[in-house]
């Protein structure tokens, strides 16, 4: 190992991810590396490697892996919260706790289904809204002609870094009956609702306004039958007015982070291609669709995945602002499992809820990745082809040669 050799290796490998590079250097100095020495050294690197990761492994194992296994046991047990769940007093009940969630027409299933419904509408509104808004703000901020972009970027990002508790309290104040939001609405002649005590569903309200049905006497066809402990009328409620406040809050706080991701991706969009497209006579919108958007696809996938994962976990805001009310319309599975365990002492059912929630998140993100992956590859291919074609055309027009 000459000094020259080292420098060479260093500069070449500087940006690569070849982490096995130090094999040569690891042995320490000198040509005296005998077979024995190498084994000894291998052992000592093994030792230090494990020592380095040991604290991480212990903490992750102890507070992640072990707890999950313990909760798995509790979800098939009849533990009531008293004493040790692993002592002989706690019985094995098989899948009973899961059956309570899905097959027994009682209050627990009704609560759980209500929370799933609420969370479903929550995801349905939050994920598209935060994705579109983040993309929109990123595109605007990416216009190099605008001044003070740094300030605006910070302004949009700031809510993302502040405490959810502080923000929840602030929104509680903004949205009280006589609060800032209703004052604003008052300026334009709208009599705002009592946000946090209004359990009416958005779809119910819209239908009522359009004359499709009356909220006070909903159509019997919808109320008299249903599935999984909720009537069709209940399933079709849409998010309640109170839930809408949480939806707005979450969109408001998460947009900033996603905007930064889009912004980083936008800065990687090859400007020559954009310009080529513009020269071709495509207008802004078409350029955006044909060039920029395909380029953003991986980021889009990421943002939607993170959005899906995050929105199925909404807890803090419910805990601070509504504790599930009014009329359970802001209860989410994440909050309900907490409530059932820590308040209702129904630990088994609550743990079962947590695992169902885990499964939902897991399946949804997997499904979403799968769906996007295909389109992604196709779009990528298409974009590359289009780009090449355009480049070729552009170069040909300039009389250059296609490389």
């Amino acid at each position: 190992m000459t000094p020259d050799g080292r420098t060479a290796t260093g500069s070449v490998l500087a940006t690569s991810s070849v982490s096995s590079a130090p094999t040569t250097g690891r042995g320490g100095p000198g040509p005296r590396r005998t077979g024995t020495g190498r084994r000894r050294l291998g052992e000592s690197t093994n030792l230090s490697g494990w020592l380095f990761v040991a604290p991480t492994l212990v903490v992750l194992g102890l507070f992640l892996l072990v707890p999950i296994l313990m909760a798995l046991w509790v979800s098939v047990s009849d533990w009531t919260g008293k004493g040790n769940p692993f002592s002989g007093d706690t019985g094995f009940v098989g899948l009973d706790n899961y059956k309570v969630l899905f097959t027994e027409d009682a209050l627990t299933r009704q609560d759980f289904m209500t929370s799933l419904r609420n969370n479903f509408y929550f995801v349905l509104l939050v994920v598209p809204a935060q994705t579109v808004l983040a993309l929109f703000l990123a595109v605007v901020l990416n216009q190099s002609l605008l001044k003070a972009r740094g300030f605006f970027r910070s302004a949009f990002y700031f809510p993302s870094v502040t405490s959810s508790v502080a923000i929840s309290l602030t929104f509680l104040f903004l949205f009280t009956g006589s609060g800032a939001v209703n004052s604003l609405l008052g300026f334009v002649g709208i009599d705002g609702p009592n946000w946090f005590s209004d359990a009416r569903g958005l779809i119910h309200i819209v239908g009522d306004k359009l004359g499709v049905w009356s909220i006070d006497s909903p159509p019997a066809a919808l109320t008299d039958s249903g599935v999984l402990s909720l009537s069709w009328w209940d399933w079709l409620s849409g998010p309640s007015v109170a839930l809408c406040v949480i939806i707005m809050l979450v969109v408001w706080t998460t947009t900033g982070t996603f905007m930064l991701m889009f912004l980083a991706a936008l800065q990687d969009v090859p400007q020559d291609v954009v310009e080529a497209s513009r020269i071709d006579g495509a207008n802004r919108w078409n350029t955006f669709r044909a060039v920029t958007l395909p380029h953003l696809r991986p980021t889009m996938l990421l943002v939607i995945t993170l959005g899906l994962i995050g929105t199925w976990q909404v807890f803090d805001q419910v805990f601070v602002m509504t504790t599930g009310g009014p009329s359970k319309t802001t209860s989410t599975p994440a909050y309900l499992q907490y409530f059932y365990a820590f308040e209702g002492q129904e630990w088994g059912v609550a743990a079962a809820m947590a695992f169902v929630l885990f499964l939902i998140i897991f399946v949804l993100t997997g499904l979403q990745r799968f769906l996007f992956r295909d389109k992604d590859a196709i779009a990528e291919k298409r974009a590359v082809r289009a780009r090449n074609r355009r480049r070729r055309k552009a170069l040909a027009a300039e009389g250059g040669e296609v490389r």
Binding site: M1, V53, T56, S164, D316
Partner: protein, 288 residues
């Protein structure tokens, strides 16, 4: 051409000016939406209760009063603040150190089982945090540290995303640096501690900030990890204000003052270290 005769504007210039104008309108409008709530928070914390209810939009307290802050100062609030500081400092120091160690090992030390560990770390990142509430409570109870400072701190000491960020960074540091040190006879830990870690300053700062912000704002873990009011952190304590721990009803100036005080440290760090926040957000992007 147009620069030569600014008086005569082409349609394209007009269009561009209009777009620019629209761009500013959008930016200013959204900046108001994103910042006005914080202005209201600040203003309301200096208002009296009736003033807050009567003029919720106004940014000038009338009369101006610091009574809310006085009330906070004489309540448990200082204790919560202190607890938050203790927990945040411990978590941040521990996390940066342990994440760097593990990140370094995964990036640079070739030991048996490394790949398996890295895969495990990636898998751990996929576990949604909120489903761990009940499990964490169970394990803390089982370890007999429920309702103690360790219960608040230790489970937060390592985060898989931080390990990932550090690993990424270490991989980009030239190997030659380590080799030079190794020839001088430095051991693995010394190389890590005095050679590589100092070079990783940007990553360390990013991680420090993310850990600080994450643990300062953490709520669910503190809810399930303790019960004793002497162990309340700011987030947990302030969350109780909504139901009138300090008296009956919605005393908005009080809650806004509490929200303000807990926002200030993060806001300061944000203003000073902005670009690291940006790096952090995008490091998060890469991990997906």
């Amino acid at each position: 051409m147009s620069t030569l005769s600014p008086a005569r504007r082409t349609p394209i210039d007009n269009r561009r000016a209009l777009l620019l104008f629209l761009g500013y309108v959008v930016l200013v409008a959204f900046a108001l939406i994103y910042l006005y709530p914080f202005f209201i928070q600040v203003a309301t914390s200096f208002k009296t209760d009736p003033d807050a209810v009567r003029n919720p939009l106004s940014l000038s307290p009338d009369p101006f009063t610091g009574r809310s802050f006085q009330r906070l100062a004489t309540s448990d609030f200082p204790l919560w603040f202190l607890n938050s500081v203790v927990v945040t400092v411990c978590v941040t120091v521990g996390r940066v150190f342990l994440d760097s160690l593990a990140g370094y090992a995964l990036a640079r030390i070739k030991f048996r089982g490394r790949q398996a560990i890295f895969t495990a770390v990636l898998a751990v990142m996929a576990v949604p945090g909120v489903i761990l509430l009940i499990p964490k409570f169970l394990v803390l109870k089982q370890l007999q540290i429920y309702d103690t400072y360790p219960a608040l701190i230790v489970p937060l000491l390592v985060d898989a995303a931080g390990v990932f960020i550090m690993k990424q960074f270490f991989e980009n540091i030239p190997v030659s640096v380590e080799e030079a040190a190794r020839i001088d006879g430095a051991g693995t830990f010394r190389i890590f501690w005095s050679v590589v870690l100092p070079m990783a300053r940007p990553a360390v700062i990013t991680l420090t900030i993310l850990s600080f912000q994450g643990s300062w704002n953490e709520l669910p873990h503190f809810i399930v990890a303790s019960q004793d009011p002497a162990l309340y952190t700011l987030t947990k304590g302030v969350a109780t204000l909504t139901s009138g721990q300090l008296g009956s009803g919605n005393q908005f100036p009080l809650t806004m003052a509490a929200a303000l005080v807990m926002t200030i440290p993060v806001a300061l760090v944000f203003v000073i270290f902005q670009r690291y926040f940006v790096t952090g957000a995008n490091a998060g992007a890469e991990k997906g």
